[in-house]
Amino acid sequence: MKETRNWTWHIVAGAFIFVFLGLHMIVMHLDDVVGLFTSGVGATDWESVLGRSRMSFFAVTYVLLLGAALYHGLFGLRSILFESNVGRAWQKAINVLFWLGGLCLFAVGVFQAVTTFLHANAAVG
């Protein structure tokens, strides 16, 4: 039952990622063709980065996307590793390692999203 629930979350996270990572890809990698949220310059130029960072929409969706992508990616890798018939002890170690690693990376990502959001809005105000 627990694995079914985990798998369901994996699918839900995948659908969410498809929509919001799709938006991220359009903004960041199709900037010459589409030119969304780029302040008229390149998508990775500081002016564009700052412009997006001060928008609540990007701050919130960035954190949600971060969590969804970490869960989806790490659960996918976990599934691949478990398929290779690792023993119970290894399974437990993988679970602990992935949870700890995932939470650390999530904390790093949230830190940068919140910090940049606050700095960007302070610069305007």
């Binding site: 799709g22 990698h29 940049t116």
Partner: protein, 147 residues
């Protein structure tokens, strides 16, 4: 009695490359996993790299300068984009199939037997064509438009 060639049921990761009379779907499965692993590796680095924006413009610009060379621009970035498009669009197909769409209705097993894969294949082909179109648009951005 006809001697049948049997395959080890535990081919492991080598089984991703081939293991008998596998259909097109099996290789799409391999592609889905390879692109997924590639995206995960990139994503973990991406989180750490983009943290530089929290430390202001100099830190951000310094990192961007390191990853804006031709190898990144013309090899890694297009690969990441292609991996996302293939993995994402095939993922949507997998979700649809998981939820019971495009698999056809149950039917009596009448010879010549048809598997569910026969019903699913048009969706797979449509998804791959759509992915090809998006990749072409991406190609215009990466390799055209003044680059």
């Amino acid at each position: 009695m006809v001697e049948r060639k049997r395959y080890d049921n535990r081919l492991g990761f080598w089984g991703w490359l081939g293991g008998g009379r596998w259909g097109f779907e099996r290789y799409v499965y391999t592609l889905h996993r390879v692109t997924g692993l590639g995206l995960l590796g990139y994503f973990l680095l991406h989180i750490l790299l983009t943290t530089s924006r929290a430390f202001g413009e100099p830190a951000w610009t310094a990192w961007m300068d390191r990853v804006s060379g031709p190898v990144f621009r013309y090899v890694f970035e297009p690969l990441v984009f292609a991996a996302f498009v293939i993995h994402g669009m095939n993922g949507i197909r997998l979700i649809l199939v998981e939820l019971g769409f495009a698999v056809g209705k149950p039917e009596d097993p009448v010879y010549p037997y048809r598997t569910s894969l026969n019903k699913q294949r048009p969706l797979l082909v449509a998804v791959m064509i759509a992915a090809g179109v998006v990749l072409a648009i991406g190609g215009v951005d990466f390799f055209g438009m003044g680059h």
